[in-house]
């Protein structure tokens, strides 16, 4: 997981035993192997497209990949299939409410995904205080910044965006001030 051979061959860690770092890194690497993209298991395609459009409004592309490119929708679908299976009803009810708000705001519109960017923003502004939006925001963030093994954060793009590296070992100094503190 983000720890290349170069990192541990050329690094040097004070008292950490190399065999231990290596074993831990190898284990982490194996558990992070990418999975082939599966078909959607819980959400239907139309709903998934709408959820994805909302997720993209939360973390849009530009200034690096956004929710769509890192695979947030795959994360959400998998979460609803596995550890958050008891939130399916929240999505069903939440997206039904989104639909009602959308139709009221934009009569005759076909879907969230089909709205213009400005219309989508207007829609989000009118649901941003709801419990469902809180859930969707949490899932979007987890899909953007959670471990890639859950189907999101593809290519660790979310981690790269915020400047996070997942490694089994780091060397001092870590930042500007501890580096300066040593001078």
């Amino acid at each position: 997981m983000g720890l290349s051979r170069r990192d541990w061959v050329f690094g040097s860690i004070g008292g950490a035993a190399w065999a231990d770092v290596l074993a831990a890194a190898q284990h982490a690497h194996e558990s992070a192997e990418a999975r082939p993209t599966a078909r959607l298991a819980v959400l239907d395609r139309a709903t998934a497209a709408d959820v994805e459009a909302l997720a993209e409004q939360i973390l849009p592309s530009g200034d690096g990949p956004g929710a769509r490119e890192v695979g947030v929708i795959w994360f959400i679908d998998r979460a609803l299939q596995t550890f958050d299976s008891d939130r399916r009803a929240d999505y069903r009810d939440g997206m039904a409410e989104v639909r009602r708000v959308r139709v009221k705001l934009f009569p005759g519109s076909a879907s969230v995904a089909a709205l213009s960017d400005e219309q989508q923003k207007q829609l989000v502004r009118s649901i941003e205080t709801t419990a469902f939006f809180g859930l969707l925001r949490q899932h979007t963030v987890l899909g953007f910044l959670g471990h890639p093994k859950y189907g999101g954060n593809r290519g660790q793009a979310g981690w790269k965006h915020i400047g996070f590296e997942s490694r089994m070992a780091f060397e001092h100094p870590f930042g500007y001030y501890d580096a300066r503190g040593r001078e």
Partner: protein
């Protein structure tokens, strides 16, 4: 996992319920003293390869803690509020318990903590009281815990610390950026910053490697075995004696008593939900400050209809909470606080309660980040940053690497109304009564938090923060430092156990964990829990040797 297999129907010398921070110490000390020991642990027996750098699993899901889906829990703040489902109490649920996933902060209590009631005076409406022991009684066991488990720190660096019989066995971890900024600012303000004492190895120690600075301490298990959990330090030594059997997946439902009113053993469900009665000469409960009282309350019998050790009705009462306050600061240059251990510098200047402030309270303040990527994105940003959209995403790219926080560890006054009870209706996945929790902080604790948060902001300002934002203090969140509930004391009418953790009701039943605490000190209870465990273990071995435990 290795060692003997004891028969259920023959009494082992000691049955330890809960093999965590205290229970791990207990099984090691008692088996090394020559006694047969069975340790029952409700959680699994994990190894380094079972852990991962998976924030979702450990921050957002109960990867190493109790799961409300199988162990439902209810909470209310006030007596008149309805109980609602909420994970009010969180504890480590595996062999090694909370010492596996804790942050590693390892503070000894101050001398004043043990007799603070005498020093400060009465606080009406509370159970504020002195401990039946003094710091000097516990000092040798703090020293032993630091040595046996492996603690890094610098003795003499904190001018407020209690006297020590010797140095830490390992030198302190180096300061990270938060530590450097904090130290500089605190000194500027005339305060006394010092290297954090942590149960994390700064150098190889007793066959374990030093910390590799991966940054995944708090809430995670350590793949390096550098965090000094009981799982990687003393439990393997217990198993090497050939007299200790650890049984993971063992969910205890009742402590049985015999006709004389003595503990006879415990009934538990094994991993395949088979009901087993393990007999024992002595029962030691180390199930934590919430599960220990729950088990006693579930252990009703004709002789003890209110639950075991509960003749005075105090089991579960005087629960204390890990109250704290947190303030963040944004800095000009990158800190990369996600790397390395959580805390490298702290102060105890504001630790002692000062009547001149007009309220009881005080706390230690440490420099830390306290977030991982997703938790920061959800809860770490200042309130003026939008919650979604391009500005939100842009802020994440700057703030994640440029932010640090100051966390105060503060007081929680003991009050009888704050308690753990059995819910009359809700059952867990084993059909046992769910835990329900009532807790509301004392007004002085809240005043103390507000006061400490002002100190945090002062220090961040002195450190040159470009922007400072305070996290709300009125939400107590989830309690992870489980203290009180079976308090120790000399008066059997006012306490549940004596100074050695022996219950006033049953002479061969001992409780050793955070439930013993009379006061909360300033949080960070693990060192004291483990010192109490070493002290009681020595007492038990001595009593057993003299044939006093039957």
């Amino acid at each position: 996992m290795s060692g003997p297999r004891f028969r259920h129907d023959e009494a082992v010398d000691f049955l330890v319920i809960g093999v965590g921070a205290a229970g791990g110490v207990m099984v090691k000390e008692l088996s090394a003293a020559g006694y047969s020991v069975v340790g029952l642990e409700q959680g699994p027996y994990l190894r380094e390869n079972d852990y991962s750098h998976d924030e979702i699993k450990y921050y957002f899901r109960p990867g190493l803690t109790n799961d409300p889906k199988t162990q439902p829990m209810l909470y209310r703040r006030g007596e008149k509020d309805p109980f609602k489902p909420f994970k009010a109490v969180e504890y480590g649920r595996q062999v090694g318990g909370g010492s596996v996933h804790f942050t590693g902060n390892y503070w000894r209590f101050h001398e004043s903590d043990f007799h603070e009631r005498s020093l400060f005076g009465e606080i009406p409406g509370t159970g504020f009281a002195d401990w039946p022991i003094r710091y000097a009684d516990l000092e040798p066991y703090y020293a032993k815990a630091e040595r046996e488990l492996g603690v890094s720190g610098l003795s003499g660096a904190n001018p407020f610390e209690a006297p020590r019989s010797g140095p830490y066995p390992l030198p302190p971890m180096p300061a990270k950026s938060s530590g450097v900024l904090f130290e500089r600012a605190a000194k500027k303000l005339g305060l006394h910053p010092y290297p954090a004492p942590v149960a994390i190895l700064s150098q190889p120690y007793r066959g374990r490697p030093a910390c590799s600075n991966c940054g995944m301490c708090e809430a995670f298990g350590c793949e390096m075995r550098a965090k000094s959990s009981t799982l990687v330090s003393v439990i393997p030594e217990a198993e090497k004696t050939g007299r200790c059997e650890i049984r993971p997946g063992s969910y205890v439902r009742k402590i049985e008593v015999d006709a004389r009113g003595r503990a006879a053993g415990a009934i538990y469900y094994d991993a395949s939900r088979r009901e087993i009665f393990q007999r024992a000469k002595v029962v030691v409960v180390c199930a934590n400050g919430a599960e220990t009282p729950r088990l006693l309350l579930m252990s009703k019998s004709n002789r003890f209809p209110q639950g075991l050790a509960n003749s005075n009705g105090l089991v579960g009462k005087y629960l204390m909470w890990d109250l704290g306050c947190f303030t963040c600061g944004l800095f000009e240059h990158p800190l990369n606080e996600y790397k390395g251990i959580q805390v490298t510098r702290l102060i105890h200047d504001y630790y002692r309660a000062d009547p001149k402030r007009g309220f009881y309270g005080g706390g230690g303040i440490d420099a830390r980040f306290d977030f991982q990527p997703a938790s920061f994105a959800l809860d770490g940003l200042p309130p003026d940053v939008p919650k979604w959209g391009a500005e939100y995403k842009k802020a994440l790219a700057t703030y994640f690497t440029h932010t640090m926080g100051l966390l105060s560890h503060a007081t929680s006054l003991a009050m009888e109304k704050n308690r753990v009870e059995l819910d009359p209706d809700v059952k867990d996945a084993w059909g046992l009564p769910a835990m329900r929790v009532t807790y509301d902080a004392h007004p002085d604790d809240m005043k103390s938090l507000a006061w400490l948060q002002d100190r945090e902001a002062e220090i961040l300002d002195a450190a040159g923060a470009r922007k400072i934002w305070r996290m709300p203090i009125d939400d107590y969140g989830t309690n992870r430092h489980l203290m009180g509930t079976c308090r120790m004391g000399t008066d059997p009418k006012q306490s549940v156990v004596n100074a050695f953790g022996r219950t006033h009701d049953a002479p061969n039943l001992f409780l050793v964990d955070g439930s013993n605490f009379v006061t909360s000190a300033r949080q960070q209870p693990t060192a004291t829990i483990q010192a109490l465990a070493y002290r009681t273990a020595e007492h038990l071995a001595g009593a057993a040797r003299r044939g006093e435990l039957g």
